[in-house]
Structures are given as structure tokens and as C-alpha cells.
Amino acid sequence: MDDEAFADISGKAISLDCQSHSSFCREFTVSSPKVSISKVLGYTCVVWLLAYTVFFFTENTAVLSSAIFITLVGMVLHIHFVKVDHESLLVIGSLGIQVSSSYASGRETTTFIEMSKIKDIVINEAIYMHQIIYYLCVLLKDPSEPNAVSSVVPLFQSSKPRLNCLVKVYKSCQEILSKC
């Protein structure tokens, strides 16, 4: 849809896909890069070499089989719980905002925030390790006080796009929010 190249905060290329289902319903999908095969090979080699050195001294074959087991289980856990393939944000005017992230194994976690609870969507700054990053977040209303913000829901948490991508999403979100 758009040819602009985006990157996340560590400089890796990510892609943003904007789908406009209707004038008040848009979907933004940020896809992170896939798992690199060299990384997988590297980690596997490290674990197996370690196991082999232990085996060299102890001469116990259980060490080797446990190393295979550990790498397999680690890989499964990684793609099921850690590696996020793409995150999407569905903004439906006057109904709410749906945030979902789907993992590399296909698992999806979704949360839907009703419009009556949303105060605004803003771009915020945060200190992350040794750098300052921008992130997009949804401000939630405090039910007792109409003007106060009760909590903040950060968006695109795992892909962490840079500011130019965030501004684009922010502008089209505000367009919808201001209409309804």
C-alpha cells in the first residue's frame, strides 16, 4: 500500500500495513522481521558445544539427550510465548479499539477497549535502557473523575517502531477519533 520504509528502535526493518475498511474503521498491522536462521543455528551450536564439553568430562550420555531436549523445548517456547510475528491495531469509530498481537506459532492475544473508556491516543516518550524512545499509547478514563487518566495501554510493545511510523498511525487514529 505504501512504499515508505520503516524501522524499529534498533534499526531493523519493519513493515506497516494500513487497511481502511470504511471511513471509520481502519486496521494497522506492524510486522516484525522473521526469526533469522543464523541466530537459531548459533544458539543451538552454543548449547550443543556446552553439552559436549560436559559430556567429555563426565561421559554421561544423558547430558547430550538433555541438550537436544532443551534446544527443542526452548525453540517451541520461544516461538509460542516470546517471538511476536505481527501486532495489529483495529480502530472502529464509536465502538472501540482492538489491540492484538500474534505470535510466530499462531497464538493470538487480543484485547478490546471500549470507546467509553478511552480518553485519547497519544505519542509518549519513555526512557528505555540507555535511550529515549517514542511509543504510541491509549489513555484510559478514570470512571470516577472524567478528566483524570487512570491507566495507559502501550501499543506495538514488541515491535517498537520509530517515530515516523508512529506519527502515521497516530494521524489516522486521530482522524477517526475526532469524527466520532
Binding site: H21, S22, S23, F24, C25, E27, L90, I92, G93, S94, L95, Q98, S100, T110, T111, F112, E114, S116, K117, P143, S144, C180
Partner: protein
Amino acid sequence: MVLKIFFPQCCNRADSGLLVGRWITGHDSAVVLAVIHYPFIPGQVKQYLQQVQAQSGVELSVLGSWSLPTESQEGMESFLRDLSTIFPQERWLQVSRQIGKTGFNCDVLNPAQNGRAAQREAKKKKGEEDEKSDGYAGHKGNNNEEEEKVIFIHYEQRNVMLSQLHPIENGVSDPKTDAPSELRQMFQTVASSQPLFFLDKYDDGPLKLTHWQSEGREASIIAELFKQASVPLCRLISWLLSIWVWVCNIWVFSLYPLRFLASKLSTCVQLSYRTEHMKTLSSPKPATDHTDFMRKATIMVSFLVDVALGVLLILWLYRDNHIPMLANALVPAADHVAKELEELLQWLMGAPAGLKMNRALDQVLGRFFLYHIHLWISYIRLMSPFIEGILWYGGLSACFGLTFALSLFSDMVALLTFHIYCFYVYGARLYCLKIYGLSSLWRLFRGKKWNVLRQRVDSCSYDLDQLFIGTLLFTILLFLLPTTALYYLVFTLLRLVVVLFQGVLHLSVDFINSFPLFALGLRVCRPYRLAEGVKFRVLCDEPGTALHLQMEMNPLKFNTVVQTYRTPTYSCYPKDSWATLVKKLFVGELIYPWKHKSTKTD
């Protein structure tokens, strides 16, 4: 403004008719509940709706009309417009489907702007003519999109009706917080309009409806039979329980020592806990709200699982003569423990780990404990012929459930290690005395004293004699401290091992008692029953039609299920934090595996 129409999936292919549902006030959304099919008498429809409304308490109304594509379009338009005058509403929806399109079309008519609506109808006719001429459908929705946008949200009526939105809010809502959110209102509407779904297509009524049960009502014969059987069963159980409670309340049992003992024996605690549960289960009134129902079901399932595990244990115990084997192993084990203890004491009475102790005190303490062990061994010898019988009858208690067997086991461990407990108490008391004596004499040494009335340390002038005696005692206590501290340390470690073992037993009993197996099973087999929220999927976005969304249930996370539906239990393990536990151990206060009553409230 955007108008939201919640549309049940089962009505997608229903014949043309009237849409029945409810407007959610303040949110600009409508919930469609059913479709009433065409040959009807308006008076009867109104009467039926009033009847259902009285039963369910939902403000039902006729929302609009629903039409499938038909051949004779000409008469239809005016007929539909006339319908809106028969059922006067603020807004009138005209939902229709067209051949070759998956999306619906929706026109919203306001009676106030009837004139304009009529104009638009005229326009639309033109549009249709265009459509006929070049076969392109697409203008139709555009005409009224400028002023009123519509979202169709398709929902599975069955799932929405049966599901429970979390966090649970019971009927009473605080006046402080504002009205429940839109989705919650929608869920409530569907759940409480159950009387509307009783009419199916086999009924010979004047009205024909389409809703999720219109193909025939969903029910299970087994469930109905269980319901019928549960009434006399509950009566029987509550009668038995009343007898049991009466026996428990006999005055002999409320005497001081028995009562104290009962509160310390984990079997008795488990018994009272189970009685409480059975009382909740066998109460004659049915569960009214969701929490009540889930609580009862969780108790029921954990009780059944408990009994099943207990029966398995019994099968194992009584099959291959395991009981005599256990009994034969138990007595030598107790003997062995006593012998080991004796050796330990002998070691302590010499020069343990190369430490030089106070020889006289060491000998006194060692002989005292040795005598105790001697007593203990003779007690075990006396008991040994009966142990098999005790185990045999005790094993039968497992038919009440595994938890009973476990608590009985824990009690037996407590009784069999009573000597270790005694040693610990003596050691702790001696050590405690020494520590307190030393601390007060240390204050005396510095010319201070503890003021009880003001709860603080005051300075005080002592006589020379007092100071002399005090300092002398301080030195003696200080030099004797390592010997007592060593005994205390060894016996505390032994005691801690026993406490740890009992703690593991109690934790497993607690786990079986409180784990919400039913809720977890429900979460696995019927994920829609426990909903954390909803999620939406965009169904189709053909140009020209309204936006169609599919609403699905977002099931609750497993850890939330466990947290929400855990049965509250008594906590048998100490509530102390680790720091207070270590402090208590250091000062020499007694620690218990059970909950210690704190009477000090200052």
C-alpha cells in the same frame, strides 16, 4: 453518528419479517434478538412482546423490518413504510439483503423526517432502475451514508447468552459508578431475554420466530434427570448433616481440652471444612447468580475428585497387603529415629564439632534428653501391637476423600514425632530465658532498665550490690549460652524438618480443596462461557454496504480463572513472613505449623 446494530448470526438466513430487540439508550446501538415472520397480526405481536417484557424485564420493541430479496419489489417498499406507522418508534430500521451480495443494506427512517425519507425512497427507485440496466449494485448505501453510518456486529446468540463477562458484576451496581458499559448492557439484554427464545417452530402459536433455538430447543435428558434426582439427594444429605452437626454440638465435645485438641488436629479441621462445604451444596434453594453457581459446581467437582483419589488409594492399600507392610516398616523406622537421636545426644554431650562446652550443663541437658528418649521408646513398644489396626481403620477414612487420608497421615506424623516437638520446646524455652535474661542484664550493665508502663528503656541508678550481682549473673549466663544455643539449634533443625513435611501435606490438602477444577474444565471445553471480553473481526468490506464485524468471545486467561474461582480455605500454614520467622527462631519463640492465635493486641 455511527449506529451499531448487534445482529444474531442465526437470523442471517431467516425469512422476511419484523426485527425484535432493544435499543440501548445512550449508546446509539440496537440489539436484534429475533425475527418475527410475516403473516402476523400486529395486535398479537404487541401483546406477545408485552408478555415477554413482563417476564424478562427487558424493554423489548420492534426495531424495524427484515427482508430477503423477492420478486415483487414494487409493493414491498410501500408495505415496509406502512409497517413503521403500525409500530411507532423513534427510529425504524429497514434491513434487507440483495441477491449476489453478502452484506446487508440498512435504511434508517425517522418518523419526524418521513417526508424526506419518502424522497429518498424515490431516489432509491431510480438507483434500482440503474441497477437493472447495468447490473451494478453499489450506489444504494451511499445515499444515506452521509448522515447515518451503520455497523453490523454479528454475534453468536447462543454463546453470548451463556457467557459471563468478567470481571463479574452482580445485579447491584454502585450508584457512584456510571451505567454499565455498552457491551455489558448488550450481554445482559441477550442473557435476560430468555423467555423470548422459548417459542420454536414446532409450536402452534400465531407467531413464528427465528432465533437460536427456533430449530428446536436445546436440552439434555441426562441433565434433566440429574436435576430431578438432585432434589431428594439434597434432602437426604442435609438430613444426615443435621444429625452430624447435632452430634458435634453435644456438650462433651465443647469441653476445653477436647476443643483445643480438635482445633489442632488437621483431621478435625478438614472435617469441619467438609461439613461446611456439604452444607453449601445441599442447600435447598438453587443457585441464583453466576458466582453462586460456580462456587457450588467447583465444590462439587473437587469433592468428587477427592473421593475418587481416595478410592484409588484404598484400592492400592488393601489389595496386596500393603497395610501390614507399612505397619511393619513404621515401628522399626520410629526405633531407628530414636536410636539416631540417642547417638546425636551422645555426640552433643562430648565435644561436638570440636567445640568446648560447659561440661556440667552439657551432661545435665544430655541426660535429661536421653531419659526422654528412653520414655519415648517404651511408648513406641507399647503401641506397636496396635499400629496395624490403627492403620487399617485409618485407611478406611480415605473413602471420604484423599484429603482425609492426608490429614490423618499428617496427624499421625505429628503424634509419632512428639518427642522431637518436646525437645524443641524445652530447648527453645531455655534459650529464650537466657536471651531475655541476658538482654535485661545487659541493660543493667549500662545503667538502664525497661519501663513497662511507658514501653521504653529508661535510665536507672542501681546499688553497688545490685550491679555486682547483675554483672556476675550476666557473665555466667553469657558463658553458658553456647551450650544451650547448640542444643536449641540442633532440635530446632529437627523440628523444622518435621514442620516442613507437615506443611507439604497441608499444602496438598489445601490444593485439592480449593483448586477450581470445574472452572478450568469449563474454560477448556466451553471457552465462551467465561469471557474476559470480546474481539472483533472484519467480515466483509464490499464498497457500498455497511461495515460488517464478527464478534467473538475472548476467553479468560487460565491464571485469572484460578484466581477468580479458587475456593477460599483456611490457611494452616503460618502467616508469618520469612523475616519474622527468622526473628522468632533467633529469639527463641515457639513456631507452630498451625495458625497461632495472636492474643497480644498492643
